[in-house]
Amino acid sequence: MQTADNLRQYRRQLKAALKNEFQRTALDNFAVAYRDGREASFAGIDRTGLIEQIGTLKDVAMARLDELFDQFREKAEAAGAIVHMARSDTEANELISRIAAENNCTRIVKSKSMTAEETLLNHFLENQGYEVIETDLGEWIIQLRHEGPSHMVMPAIHLSRNDVSRLFSEVTGKQQDTDIEKLVKVARRELRQRFVSADMGISGANFAIAETGTLGIVSNEGNVRLVTTMPRVHVALVGIDKLIPTVSEALLVLSGLPRNATGQAITSYVTWITGANPSAASDTGKKKMHIVFLDNGRSAMAKNPVFAQALRCVRCGACANVCPIYRMVGGHAYGHIYIGAIGLILTYFFHGRDKDKNLIENCLNCQACKQVCVAGIDLPRLIREVQKQIIGGEKGLLLASMAAYVLKRRRLFHAFLRSGRYIQRPLAGKTGYIRHLPEVFFKDHKFKMLPALAEKPFRDRWDPSRFSPAHPKYKIALFSGCLQDFVYPEQLEAGLELLLTANVRIDFIPEQGCCGLPLYMLGEHDAAADLARWNIGHIDPKKYDFILTLCASCGSHMKENYPYLLETDAGVRERAGQFAEKVIDYSSFMVLAGSVGTANAGTKTAKAAYHAPCHLCRGLGVRRAPRALLENAGYEYVPNDEEETCCGLGGSYSFKFPEVSSAILDKKLGTVAETGAEILVTDCPGCVMQLRGGAVKQERPFRVLHMAEALKASLSHV
């Protein structure tokens, strides 16, 4: 559970998490195993189609929550259950404790429920003197340790068998083995006795089917079945977002949930409960069955056009599984109660701004969560939206508003960058890197070499006459992006050189400014929209076949976010759409233009590893083109499993969270080194900055090149 008051405290917590070697290894192994398991479990299934169906059916359901609730209540009550609605977490806790009191219950067994974690139900009941025992093995372990879950599906993934053995030795008062099988059996017996003596069972639910008033609960261990069977009273605490119209729809979601959660086609058990069932322990012979629905802000969310989609979440946990930050720091540092990408969002709504204000900054915008979400939630987008709301409440957030001020004033910004190269001279010498970073500002940023500003920006070197053929095949507007304009102009020049013979007309419109992504990442959406308007205003999409950029980040921002940011601006909405359509990345364009022939194919000049920028592979969905180019250029492309894992830069992220950024970078460089590659190629100057900075600092045996540089270098081998 992340509870830091300020960013500094939060960073301290992150640093401690990074030092947890056991957790690091466990999560690393898990990240790899999860990826493979998930792929295998979806074999033969139209995954994209299924995700779309789940998203749509959940959206439709969330739009008619009131109606579904009424229907559910009618059906469930007809079958003997009592249905309650709790508006807040406290109301839910009080309701449940009242049910316990009314039925003279004192011993409660519980199966896993994130909703009960959300309301801190156990604390509440224990404070009232009830005995509450978690019966899911992982939940029991963390309950005994007085911890919260570190993963929504595997709550104790941060603990080793030795931790568990020590804990069980304490609990049983007898020395326990470290053999996992034996530990599980000990838990089986210890908890079986709790089931026998319990008078109330509390469960969550994955589905609340309106047409029949049925609860559906998935589990692997079988504890849910005992919790809902052995005690005479059963209380289910269910978020109203679990309401779903029909049995068929619940089955459809069920076909995706376990696959995405653990790579299982289905969990060992799915329990379907309608109303009150026979119960030998009850004086009436029937179970006392209560269903408590929890709102806690959900119905307001359902009405919010931006955030309603967060209610699609089925709590599969996958958005944490694939998150490069989660992989490094684990769930206690990467969530308040809800963990992972969805946790960053829900924490704001369920637990308030204060609990989320540090967490929300801890995102690379790498899009890995969006790609894996079984409900098709655009998680990174919602994270940015929450961030915007949080910043909106804190007017004086200095960094963001200063950046907005400078970036929006193009001339000022460019003048600032131009003068920067004079200031850096004593720091950089002629090395191309800034050698002596002022200790006070940069003590945590020494994990990579930072590039110096170029002597002359691209805009001052540009010679339009070289790209003005009489009958061009394509007309192109070049979008340079700040990083290549002012730091890496040689990348642009290399890229353009390869297009000299391609018979294309290239315009570089000097009015263009920053794409605006850095501001969007800082939560300054209005300023980002202003920059979008500016660039769209100066580059007329109708005049060009393509708007070409060698920066995957600019490209994906312009293609995806421009239309989004300008959605409500009727004046430019249409043009923003046209603009976005024309945006193309370098690798895709080179394949299209056919200007890297296969002349070198098969010559195997050097071993080349590839790093897929997040904004290219997930943002723009480009995967094949860069690999094809490398092979065509005669490189021996050596694949690795982490090609699509973020490099850890995330724009300003690496300045906010240098420790996490550098841990992600280390892992990346280590994986590349294992391939024996001589060069590491990528399509984004931001990734180049991060990867090259790290590779130089660590004296890795490979060079880091932008695709344009790699292609140019291959020509000189001919």
Binding site: K185, R192, T274, N277
Partner: protein, 211 residues
């Protein structure tokens, strides 16, 4: 999909999650199989699973409640089947229980139940079990032996949706059971038999071979 293919797919999927799947010519073979499983349970397994380890006082007490004979729970078998079983069990020294299972939470060796139907795509058994004893037999037994008729296999859950909705029309408890009880909560190591059965056996009575 033709029935043979459905059986084959069910078998493959159920085995993939460590269920034991056998084809039986008729119910009598299935009964004999279940008795045999119970009789063959290793001598040390007369102790309820976990009772051989160091436990706390109350947990140990519950182990003591386990009867010192082998027990088989048969909550939803027909009268003639019970008759057949009674004879088989008497010979093997196995006690039969048909109701009041909650009193045996300490441990039952084998639970023998009839499944309503199955879903081939995931190797899932479906048991409609509002009856508490039937439910418990599939939860507290160490080995769950389920009998399934080959004609009761649906290709996927969608095909079974109407049937399920029918179950759910009144107060109801329905279980999907796929393999044995499992956990991976400690170091992600897969371990079978955490709260529910340690083993699941599915006996398919093939309509085409039985009379």
């Amino acid at each position: 999909m033709n029935p043979q293919k459905l059986v084959a797919q069910f078998e493959q999927k159920a085995r993939a999650v460590s269920a034991v799947v056998k084809t039986m010519a008729g119910i009598d073979d299935a009964l004999a199989y279940a008795v045999n499983v119970c009789a063959q349970k290793k001598a040390c397994a007369v102790l309820a699973s976990g009772c051989e380890y160091a436990l706390s006082g109350p947990a140990e007490e519950l182990c003591g409640l386990k009867q010192w004979e082998k027990l088989m729970a048969v909550p939803n078998l027909s009268a003639p089947d019970i008759e057949t079983l009674t004879v088989l069990c008497r010979d093997s020294g196995i006690g039969l229980i048909r109701q009041g299972l909650a009193a045996y939470a300490g441990g039952i060796d084998v639970g023998l139940t009839m499944a309503d139907f199955a879903i081939a795509a995931t190797g899932t058994l479906v048991l409609n079990c509002p009856d508490e004893d039937l439910r418990l037999a599939t939860m507290i037994s160490e080995v769950h032996v389920a009998v399934l008729r080959s004609e009761d296999i649906y290709a996927n859950s969608d095909d079974a949706a109407d049937r399920l909705a029918g179950f759910f029309a009144a107060s109801d408890y329905t279980a999907f059971i796929t393999g044995a009880s499992r956990t991976a909560d400690i170091e992600r190591v897969l371990t079978l038999g955490v709260h529910g059965p340690l083993e699941l056996h599915v006996l398919i009575i093939d309509a085409s071979t039985s009379s």
